[in-house]
């Protein structure tokens, strides 16, 4: 499996870049950056994006794209908030978030796989629909989470690490294994590598695509619920760039936009590189506008180092 084998090496190089960044910030701000307080915050800020990016990894490996994740996240958070408000049950709220997320994902998958509409258009459409739908449900204003969710799941820790981070990490790890070691993962790679060959080989391409987009939607739904718990608010306007962030993480992690190659482990690193940069520069007190400039430049440099090392190895 190239996915696995090459993936490991990819992860190695880009992982070294991440380690170098962590080391650099630790040297520049030895008493503040490498503290458990800061690193835990960093992990828990990244955790929710990680869910979106993991789903996106599957989607991009099939040579697809999902622009709707941010909208689905918000929609699911709104659905959860309203259900919890109406029923008072946190469990029903969780369920509502998961079900609505899954439903949007399946809708994406059906339109893409059966309607054969480009994924970019479908998910751009559902992005507008889900965001607009969320705004309609709320009248355009953020809903708040019930206090017992916000102060419960939102603050809960296990072994000192936020429960939300554990949940996201566990799901990501499971999905990394599924991608690398199972038939479901194998078919995901095959479709992205050559959908026609997969079809001729007897892979149920359309059904599989519906599942992959459904998975991405489900993860976005869960992300919506966790974000509601963590921030206490549905965040109707804060998620318009989630899609780009998730896609960038996937690509930084070595997954090709043209499908067929990639790993979840790479994506994990791809999520953390921008988050670490942002956090490090904030800690160093770099002004916000400079941060944008520097993060952009370092991002390009990081991926350049990765590509360059990989090329050197290949030739």
């Amino acid at each position: 499996m190239k996915g696995v084998r090459l993936g490991d090496l990819q992860v190695l190089w880009i992982g070294l870049v991440l380690v170098a960044l962590l080391a650099a910030f630790s040297i520049l701000a030895p008493t503040t950056f490498p503290t458990s307080f800061n690193l835990l915050n960093l992990v828990s800020d990244a955790a929710i994006l990680l869910l979106l990016a993991t789903g996106m990894t599957y989607v991009i490996i099939t040579a697809g794209i999902d622009l709707s994740v941010g909208g689905v996240l918000v929609f699911s958070a709104v659905a959860a908030a309203e259900v919890m408000d109406a029923t008072g049950s946190l469990a029903l709220g969780t369920l509502a978030a998961l079900v609505t997320g899954l439903a949007w994902g399946v809708l994406n998958g059906v339109l893409i796989a059966l309607g054969r509409i480009p994924a970019l258009i479908v998910t751009l459409g559902t992005l507008g629909m889900s965001l607009g739908g969320a705004l309609l449900l709320t009248g355009g204003v953020d809903l708040r989470a019930p206090t017992d969710l916000n102060l419960g799941l939102g603050l809960a820790r296990w072994l000192g690490v936020p429960l939300i981070a554990w949940i996201c990490a566990a799901i990501t790890a499971a999905l990394a294994l599924v991608l690398a070691w199972t038939r479901f993962g194998r078919h995901t790679y095959a479709i992205g590598s050559n959908a026609e060959a997969a079809r001729r080989g007897g892979v149920a391409v359309r059904r599989h695509l519906v599942k992959v987009y459904g998975l991405a939607g489900l993860l976005a739904g869960l992300a919506g619920h966790l974000s509601l718990a963590k921030y206490g608010i549905t965040g109707v306007s804060a998620h318009s760039t989630d899609n780009l962030q998730a896609i960038a993480a996937v690509v930084i992690g070595g997954t090709s936009l043209f499908g067929g190659v990639g790993t979840v482990a790479g994506t994990v690193i791809g999520v953390f590189i921008p988050v670490v940069l942002q956090n490090g520069f904030q800690i160093l007190g770099v002004r916000p506008f400079w941060q944008q400039v520097v993060v952009g430049a370092v991002l390009v440099a990081a991926v350049y180092v990765d590509q360059w090392r990989r090329r050197a190895r290949d030739q």
Partner: protein, 280 residues
């Protein structure tokens, strides 16, 4: 005479302006090797794709075991025991040879892991290496993706795959085009072996030596129609070439308008072609 395993009649298939098949017929009987030959662009690959469920015909009927079928997908054809080596090989370039070999039929680990869908990569690699070696094709690395294989190695993987899984029939669209001398011999031997085990073979090839060496019958396509059928034992290479190019059909002539493809001609000539059948 037995019911044909596959009988196709009047198959028509157009791509935009180009008529690839213009009412083609084809018959495959159980346990025989039929060579399907014809000039470049005659429609051989298109016919093979239609009979293996990859493309749908615009018109015409396909019968398997005398029952009309309409394969909606390659899966259905494979369900009926029909495998295909496509001319473009249809491999996933990013996957390993073993992943391609077992694509859509992956082996799972025994026990609980298998229930979870966990692949048995070691077993698949082993089986793939063995199947390729039987053809004389050596793979330098079992884990490197197919995109790093030589042309012949790739073809070896595709041929080995089809032959391994076929239960009723194999379509082989120019299976030896990229293979070396030894590998080609082995594939020809394999075709005979497969036939002897009761699986029918359709061999599409431009190599008349191979066709003569291995086939029981020959069907000839020209400009999207079947124009002749022969028993291999009773035909000469010159006749085959003549049938393919139309040189033998004096009434049909080969004075076709310059540069016109299959779509460029009208419907004449098919009757004569069939009239030349080699008494099958």
């Amino acid at each position: 005479m037995a019911v044909p395993l596959i009988a196709a009649r009047g198959i028509v298939k157009s791509y935009g302006q180009v008529e690839a098949l213009r009412g083609a017929d084809f018959t495959l009987r159980p346990g025989e090797v039929v060579a399907l030959i014809g000039d470049n662009g005659a429609g051989k690959s298109t016919l093979a794709k239609i009979l293996s469920g990859v493309e749908r015909p615009d018109a015409g009927t396909v019968e398997v075991d005398g029952e009309p079928v309409a394969f909606g997908s390659a899966e259905e054809a494979r369900g009926a025991g029909i495998e295909t080596v496509y001319q473009d090989l249809a491999l996933c370039a990013d996957l390993s040879p073993a992943a391609n070999f077992f694509l859509g039929r992956e082996l799972l680990r025994p026990g609980l892991l298998g229930l979870l869908g966990v692949l048995d990569n070691a077993a698949m690699r082993r089986a793939t290496r063995e199947a390729c070696e039987r053809l004389g094709v050596r793979l330098a690395s079992q884990t490197a993706p197919v995109s790093g294989l030589s042309g012949g190695q790739r073809q070896g993987v595709a041929v080995a795959r089809a032959v391994t899984w076929a239960r009723r029939a194999v379509f082989m669209d120019e299976p030896t085009a990229a293979l070396g001398v030894v590998q080609t011999r082995r594939v020809l031997d394999l075709i005979r072996g497969v036939r002897d085990s009761g699986v029918s073979v359709v061999l599409i090839s431009h190599n008349m030596q191979d066709v003569m060496a291995v086939s029981d019958r020959v069907e000839v396509l020209r400009l999207g129609r079947r124009v002749a059928r022969f028993e291999t034992a009773r035909v000469s290479m010159e006749e085959l070439v003549g049938a393919m190019t139309g040189a033998l059909e004096t009434r049909d002539g080969d004075g076709e308008p310059d540069g016109s493809g299959p779509g460029g001609r009208d419907g004449s000539g098919s009757g004569q072609g069939l009239g030349r059948e080699g008494g099958v």
